[in-house]
């Protein structure tokens, strides 16, 4: 960590933008500028600012680069706005120059369009429900945004219920709006989450780690006993198992997973499996 900080301080003192490719999987700090791969040559030796003549037109047709969370566009470069590790994903199929983003850690959720979240109904006013999603404002949820809901056939939602839905409108200028159906009108698992169970809060980074395709934690947890989990991208997890004790064990494991190493985790799971 000290070595990384020293490197970063050096580059900031020199005030030169670094190539994004050189910094992958390293810690970046807000305020740094990153050069995209095609611009490296222009800033190369001498830095006179003259671009060498290119005979191949391949450089220009690189496609679009997507800058994800934690990065902003600044002219032709990327500006880092959050501290964390820089990640990159190659484009899967042809078009696009890939995605760059910063893997940061935070507890506060900012609503983003398309995210699936768990919300708590706080008020019912006329045709809409006010749902607390952990952001700066409560999101609004129309009563028609449930599967099979019509004006006569209202959904059975009470204040205090848990809702699993996704955002359709989420930007800094407007109140966020969520719905419990997808674009075809089907529920797809969204809607009111059932009775019992326990809702608790974790950091956003842990949720993303748990939802990664190759997550070992979930595979091990799934072998313990029958259970149901719902993950909300706003840092909320709802768990339910057959008995209260099992539910509490599960909640404790998931909360502690944040700070445990793989070995400690395996120890705990083996102890649980015995009992």
């Amino acid at each position: 960590m000290a070595a990384a900080a020293a490197v970063v301080a050096e580059s900031l003192a020199g005030y030169r933008a670094r190539a994004a490719r050189a910094v992958l999987e390293q810690v970046v700090l807000p305020g740094e500028e990153l050069l995209l791969p095609e611009q490296e040559d222009g800033e190369g030796p001498g830095g006179t600012g003259e671009r060498p003549l290119r005979l191949n037109a391949g450089a220009r047709s690189r496609g679009r680069v997507v800058c994800g969370p934690g990065l902003r566009r600044c002219g032709d470069r990327l500006l880092v706005t959050k501290c964390g590790r820089l990640r990159h994903k190659e484009p899967g199929s042809g078009s696009g120059g890939g995605v760059y983003w910063v893997d940061s850690q935070q507890k506060r959720y900012v609503p983003v369009k398309g995210d699936h979240v768990i919300g708590i109904v706080t008020a019912k006013s006329g045709d809409i429900f006010k749902v607390d999603v952990g952001g700066s404002e409560p999101a609004s949820l129309s009563y028609l945004a449930f599967e099979g809901a019509t004006k006569r056939n209202r959904p059975n939602v009470q204040v205090g219920d848990l809702i699993y839905g996704q955002f359709v409108v989420a930007n800094k200028d407007m109140e966020p709006e969520m719905v419990c159906i997808d674009s075809c009108g089907r529920a797809c698992g969204m809607g009111v989450i059932g009775q019992d169970g326990l809702l608790f809060k974790v950091t956003l980074g842990l949720i993303r780690r748990l939802l990664a395709p190759d997550c070992e934690i979930l595979q091990e947890v799934g072998k313990l006993y029958p259970l149901e989990i719902v993950f909300g991208m706003n840092g909320r997890i709802w768990v339910k198992a057959k008995t209260i004790q099992q539910t509490l064990i599960l909640a404790n494991i998931l909360e502690a997973c944040e700070h445990m190493t793989a070995d400690q985790r395996k120890q705990i799971f083996s102890r649980l499996a015995e009992s």
């Binding site: 994800g68 969370p69 983003w101 369009k113 398309g114 698992g189 029958p226 149901e228 719902v230």
Partner: protein, 142 residues
């Protein structure tokens, strides 16, 4: 009474009006700027960055509907080949062909005249099939 203006003076007046109007229009006195095409798109969502699994999960049969959903949604993510594409047929193709064959007979019988209805006989299976033989004049044999 106002006399009509001459055509020439009319034209002059119109031209002057047009001049005044076009001078009043504002325009920017800048050289033409080329629009820079930006190659960078900003997205605030993590969905593009990482392939995340579906948020609802159930293990060891706790909630069978959610387990079905898990398979559906995660298969969509990975774009696997859906093996259950072929819809299970309620009626096999052969049976369908047989039914159509006899259907022709049944509908044909409906529109046949009374005399021709006798031509339609019932087969062994109970299917109605038209007999192709027609009544022709038989020459009496001496």
């Amino acid at each position: 009474m106002q006399r009509g203006l001459d055509s020439e003076t009319k034209k002059q007046l119109e031209e002057e009006e047009k001049k005044i109007i076009s001078e009043e229009h504002w325009y920017l006195d800048l050289p033409e700027l080329k629009e820079k095409e930006s190659f960078i798109i900003e997205e605030q969502s993590f969905l593009l960055c990482e392939d995340l699994l579906y948020g609802r999960m159930s293990f060891r049969g706790f909630n069978p509907e959610v387990e079905k959903l898990m398979l559906q949604m995660n298969a969509k993510n990975q774009v696997e080949e859906v093996e259950e594409e072929t819809v299970e047929l309620d009626v096999s193709d052969e049976e369908m062909a047989r039914r159509y064959e006899t259907l022709v007979g049944t509908i044909g019988k409906k529109f046949a005249k009374k005399r021709d209805r006798a031509n339609y006989e019932e087969d062994e299976n109970g299917d109605i099939k038209p007999i192709k033989t027609r009544k022709m004049f038989l020459k009496p044999q001496d």
